[in-house]
């Protein structure tokens, strides 16, 4: 069995089954925004909500849509959970005798987490993060253990957000791989596609139905329809050379005039992985028996828009906003292809929605065509 069907009212049964063995992370309304958070109750899922997203705007509607999953992506993605904003690398103690480093503190055991309602772009982004954190010269142990302890239940998007362009990045709207279970909302039921043995186990004993050819063609036509509704696009075939040819294009100065270098785009981007490490000190040393100094080395998200991101002792390699915006977009759409074999953008549109001044990456790229 790789496909099944479940009645609309029975989706809750899958949730309850997962709840017995997993911490559940999924979409939830918090402060008028659909975020990803721990979900205790099935009714936390914002069924029927529809948000309006624009350049620099996000407005959540009332929740009266007939479909359960009519909403699109909010600011959160897998990144928040797999490579958390703040993470301890190791703890240290330093005394007159020397230093000692305790790496066990960084190996926190995580209980299994089920991510529900993840979209195709999020899953595509997670696979890009895998390339960064798992396939480099040194495997990121923390990321690896969180990643392995996760179960992914995806939702095929049938209604794109206003800033989405996943279809041009070949990242959606249909989830094609990297899931344990993928759900499509049909008119009278949910179509369930099983990706792994773990995904199949969830359904054991649940009231599921056989899938007919009609159901499958309904899915295909709904996804085709969704693709047609996507408004934005990027011509991937022009990458990376459109950017490499235009590293000194006047548009960079133009966008720097609008960009606030706030770094919002990098924080909401599901693939922006840059981080910084610093020592978090605990004051001790009151008694001579205690170590002189103890603390932990903490890794936090950073952004190439930070003023000091490229600072070395003698100076700063990217003091201007022009250079920092160029770095961000060039990395996303050009450098990434050289580094990891594909663009670092999945077309989720988050950077457009959450930019306080509404800078649109698809427009900025298009503008590089102008001479």
């Amino acid at each position: 069995m790789t496909k099944a069907k479940i009645k609309k009212d029975h989706l809750k049964l899958i949730f309850d089954r997962l709840k017995t063995s997993h911490k559940i992370i999924g979409p939830k309304v918090e402060g008028n925004v659909i975020v990803l958070a721990k979900i205790a109750d099935f009714h936390d899922i914002p069924a029927g909500y529809k948000e309006q997203q624009g350049r620099g705007t996000y407005r959540l509607g009332s929740g009266k849509e007939p479909q359960t999953f009519s909403f699109s992506v909010g600011p959160d993605s897998f990144k928040r959970f797999m490579s958390p904003p703040v993470r301890e690398n190791f703890a240290f103690k330093k005394s007159k005798k020397g230093i000692s480093i305790n790496q066990n503190s960084s190996r926190v055991r995580e209980i299994s987490t089920a991510f529900i309602g993840m979209r195709a772009c999020d899953i595509a982004a997670l696979r890009l993060l895998d390339k960064v954190f798992l396939e480099g010269p040194v495997k990121d142990v923390g990321y690896d253990s969180l990643r392995r302890n996760s179960l992914i239940v995806g939702i095929n998007c049938l209604y794109p957000g206003d800033n989405c362009f996943c279809s041009s990045m070949d990242a959606g709207p249909e989830i094609r791989d990297g899931f344990d279970m993928a759900v499509t909302e049909l008119d009278d039921s949910f179509l369930l596609e099983i990706g792994t043995a773990r995904g199949r186990e969830i359904l054991n004993g649940l009231p599921i139905d056989e899938v007919s050819d009609k159901d499958l063609s309904e899915k295909v036509s709904k996804i085709e329809n969704c693709k047609k509704m996507i408004k934005k696009s990027i011509k991937v075939s022009e990458l990376p050379y459109l950017i490499y040819r235009n590293l000194e294009h006047p548009r960079w100065a133009d966008v720097a005039g609008r960009c606030l270098a706030c770094g919002n785009c990098t924080q909401v981007c599901p693939t922006c992985f840059c981080n910084s490490s610093y020592d978090n000190l605990q004051l001790s040393g009151i008694s001579k028996k205690l170590p002189e100094l103890s603390g932990a080395r903490i890794r936090t998200w950073d952004s190439c828009f930070s003023t000091n991101f490229a600072r070395v002792h003698g100076g700063n390699f990217r003091p201007s906003r022009r250079a920092r915006y160029r770095q961000w977009m060039s990395h996303k759409l050009a450098y990434w292809i050289d580094q990891f074999g594909s663009p670092g953008c999945v077309g989720c549109g988050r950077c457009i929605t959450w930019c306080p001044v509404g800078i649109d990456i698809t427009q900025e790229l298009e503008a590089l065509h102008a001479r």
């Binding site: 954190f133 142990v141 020592d279 603390g295 002792h313 022009r322």
Partner: protein
């Protein structure tokens, strides 16, 4: 293999003051097990860690066959300032080795020109010592089949010249050319005065058979590379050691990006033609 994301402890065995702001620190790894597995190649770097202060990427200035791991460090930021106050016997944290190395296979049967500016000579000393120790000197029959070997080195003043006491030994195997930006009138100086690019006129070399290893200020490396190419050295035979804000060493923090390259894992040593398109771009 030890986990390169976690520092190991190393003890400073001895410190040699090189100039007023630069010293060489010889480290010995505390753990026997890591001692056995730790190997590096000339041109690679370590992240030196002072708990409570931070980390700094520092190239290795010793040869792989040296008994100790040496770092030649100029005081520049918080970490290097702190290190400058340490004594023999003190313990620091080390992660590494990281990055690419000088391509020794390229210099077989060819002439080698080493061009260094300031503290940029540190990662090149690793190659120089490696060549001397593997029998590249006059006194021992050469086992490394390298042709002519040159060192071109420039510093601010004679007093800022690092490894000055070692140059006589380098002359066993290398023709050494030195220059300073400004000679100190109170000190006897027989080398040149002026930009390092001027030294090229003094060197008689065959551009088509020469491999160049260079490390120093980026502008120096750029103008030097330009001159070398004008003289007929193929760009593919010029290797540049770059400096950026290396933070993790493993290509996962993004700070050291130079165009599409991660200087920490794709570099620091690059073939000139692989980064050519980005070298002149301002604020890349």
């Amino acid at each position: 293999m030890h986990d390169k994301s976690i520092p190991f402890e190393a003890t400073i065995r001895w410190i040699k003051k090189e100039t007023r702001d630069t010293a060489t620190y010889a480290l010995k790894i505390n753990s026997r097990e890591i001692q056995r597995t730790y190997t590096f190649k000339p041109g690679q770097f370590n992240m030196l860690y002072i708990p409570g202060i931070g980390e700094a990427p520092i190239s290795i200035s010793s040869a792989p066959t040296d008994h100790e791991i040496m770092h030649t460090i100029r005081i520049a930021g918080d970490v290097t300032t702190y290190i400058s106050r340490l004594n023999a016997g003190d313990v620091i944290g080390v992660r590494g080795p990281f990055g690419s190395s000088w391509p020794l296979e390229e210099i077989e049967d060819r002439d080698l020109m080493i061009i260094a500016g300031g503290v940029g000579i540190a990662p090149l000393r690793s190659v120089i010592r490696h060549i001397l120790m593997s029998g590249g000197g006059k006194k021992s029959p050469s086992r490394t089949p390298i042709g002519k070997k040159f060192i071109l080195y420039g510093a601010k003043t004679p007093k800022d010249m690092i490894f000055r006491d070692e140059f006589p030994r380098y002359m066993d195997a290398f023709q050494v050319f030195l220059t300073v930006d400004k000679a100190d009138p109170e000190e006897y100086w027989r080398g040149e005065v002026g930009l390092i690019t001027g030294l090229l006129n003094k060197v008689s070399f065959n551009p088509l058979n020469t491999v160049v290893f260079t490390c120093g200020p980026e502008v120096m490396m750029q103008s030097m590379t330009k001159d070398l190419i004008l003289r007929g050295v193929p760009g593919e035979k010029i290797f540049i050691s770059m400096e950026r804000n290396m933070n993790c060493g493993m290509g996962v923090c993004g700070h050291c990006m130079f165009g599409p390259k991660f200087v920490c894992k794709d570099g620091p040593v690059f073939r000139f033609t692989d980064i050519e398109g980005f070298l002149g771009v301002k604020e890349i």
